[in-house]
């Protein structure tokens, strides 16, 4: 492992996991006052075991949101359906330009598993969630908030979801995604992006814009894919981790080492929040580690 990767323990309050240059923000910014959104914790963790798999999930408030006293806008959900042996994982990234996008992300994360388990089809499920999300957005002002919510307030979220069939004789995954949230397989130390989007990343002009077409949308950019699964873990994540994973060999190597096996959930959360200069977005990762297939 590179000497640029280390656990920082000597500085109180500093982020303990660093990959490469941590930058100044990750190491120097201290916690600020609480946000105006009392239902939005800085970090959210979950772990579970289902037949054939271990799950770790962590959502970490990004540096920019902490700095600007804004809430974490990523959300996730993990649901298991025993009759079909299906694990439904959903990860949503609220669009930062809208102040209530965490509500859109939370709604989508909660509603996608319901819709998928009802319809068994991503196009139908996400279309339904998209329509219901429009209604949810329109009624934002009727829900309790500390501060006044103006009429016509906007919110939006990206989405990546996976239905993982855990039947050991037919283990496979069906993935659906919009925009830049992503799903990855880790096998033999190598990462494979299951949600590669040629339209993402740099624009044709060689500059980066980061534009997304998030939900709710009149014409959502939903893509789907089916993949057989081996014994390697699968990860769903927001672009807070997906972007550095895609763009950095060092991040890929480091996370491959950290996540070859399932860490304890608290370690996992610290690792999801690794410090790296310039990467200040919210971070959410749900990892699913499979028990070895039968010979």
């Amino acid at each position: 492992m590179s000497t640029d990767v280390w656990r920082r323990t000597e500085t109180p309050g500093a982020k303990p996991y660093v990959i490469g240059d941590p930058g100044r923000a990750a190491t120097q910014l201290e916690p600020g006052p609480p946000t105006r959104f009392p239902d939005s914790a800085d970090h959210e963790l979950s772990e579970c075991r289902v037949p054939g798999a271990q799950v770790r999930a962590a959502s970490v408030r990004g540096i920019l949101h902490r700095y600007r006293n804004q809430p974490r806008q990523d959300r996730f959900s993990v649901v298991f359906d025993p009759p079909t042996m299906t694990l439904v994982v959903t990860v949503c990234d609220g669009v930062g330009q809208f102040p209530l996008s965490q509500e859109a992300a939370g709604f989508a994360a909660a509603d996608v598993p319901r819709a998928y388990l009802r319809h068994g089809d991503w196009q139908i499920a996400v279309t339904e969630v998209n329509e219901r999300l429009k209604d949810f957005v329109a009624t934002a002002g009727s829900r309790p908030h500390l501060d006044h919510v103006p009429d016509g307030v906007r919110m939006a979220t990206t989405l990546v979801a996976a239905a993982i069939c855990l039947d050991p004789d037919a283990r496979h995954v069906s993935v659906a995604w919009t925009d830049d949230s992503s799903a990855w397989l880790l096998a033999d130390g190598r990462w494979r992006n299951l949600t590669h989007d040629p339209a993402a990343g740099d624009d044709d002009n060689g500059l980066h814009s980061g534009r997304v077409r998030a939900l709710p949308h009149a014409d959502p950019r939903l893509r789907t894919a089916e993949h057989l699964l081996g014994d390697g873990p699968i990860f769903l994540m927001t672009d807070g981790v997906g972007v550095p994973l895609e763009g950095s060999v060092q991040v890929r190597e480091t996370l491959a080492g950290w996540w070859a096996t399932a860490p304890d959930v608290f370690t996992f959360a610290q690792q999801v929040g690794f410090a790296r200069k310039g990467h200040m977005d919210d971070r959410t990762v749900v990892g699913v580690w499979f028990e070895a297939s039968r010979p």
Binding site: S2, L207, D239, V243, V251, R276, K277, M280, D281
Partner: protein, 238 residues
């Protein structure tokens, strides 16, 4: 720190293009102090210092990159010196050369580069005649025909002393789309030292606001507000 340690990083490049022609010779101490103060102001903010990169280009008869593009805390300050004419053409040619070289270098290091921003400071009318033609050839873009340079910069000019509104308005860019350029002209009676201090503050605020404008994937150039200083009149390009 190795390239591996920063690969994948998002970068917002800002270029400060300064007129150092002969008419500026009495203002060089204030101009140098403004650049120093701007760097210090951005360095105070660790978030902006992690995201924004600054470069300083000086022009008179010719143009040269005095301080190459770098993070503020990593910049090596150089003293700006004066003398010569006011060659806008050379300034745009040097920016074009410098940004293309910076962009290629940063992308080879695995960084993601946002659209560049130019803060253009001048106290006089151009002695070059072809600067608008050169700007259009090197940097201009037509969103309808998609001809020209798709990596066109945001340009925010600041004019004082002999600089005219017509000249500043012609430089503000883009002149299309949702984020049309804006330009600033000194009000009557404003002293140059005071103006340079105000411009430095406006640029600093713009860089800081741009760095904090969104999530990492969606930073937006936040130009100075048109009413940001009582000593400068801000206007939008038509």
């Amino acid at each position: 720190m190795s390239e591996r340690a920063t690969e994948g990083q998002v970068v917002m490049p800002f270029y400060i293009v300064c007129d150092v022609s002969g008419s500026m010779c009495g203002d060089m101490a204030d101009l140098n102090a403004g650049v120093t103060g701007l760097r210090q102001e951005i360095m105070k903010d660790p978030v902006a210092d992690d995201l924004a990169m600054l470069s300083v280009i000086a022009f008179d008869d010719a143009a040269r990159t005095v301080m190459p593009l770098n993070f503020p805390s990593a910049m090596e300050l150089q003293t700006l010196n004066c003398g010569g004419l006011t060659n806008y053409t050379a300034a745009f040619q040097e920016f074009h050369r410098a940004f293309e070289a910076d962009r290629v270098r940063l992308k080879s290091e695995g960084k993601r580069v946002f659209r560049p921003c130019i803060f253009f400071l001048t106290d006089g009318e151009p002695t070059s005649r072809d600067h608008l033609q050169v700007f259009q050839q090197l940097l201009g873009y037509d969103p309808v025909t998609k001809q020209g340079n798709p990596r066109y910069p945001y340009v925010t000019p600041f004019g004082f002393r002999s600089a005219t509104e017509e000249s500043m308005k012609a430089l503000a860019y883009p002149n299309f789309g949702e984020k049309k350029g804006r330009y600033f002209l000194a009000k009557q009676g404003a002293s140059v030292p005071s103006l340079l201090k105000a411009i430095s503050g406006m640029i600093g605020t713009s860089v800081l606001s741009s760095s904090l404008s969104g999530t990492v994937g969606t930073f937006q150039y936040t130009p100075p507000a048109t009413d940001a200083s009582p000593e400068l009149e801000g206007s939008f390009v038509d």
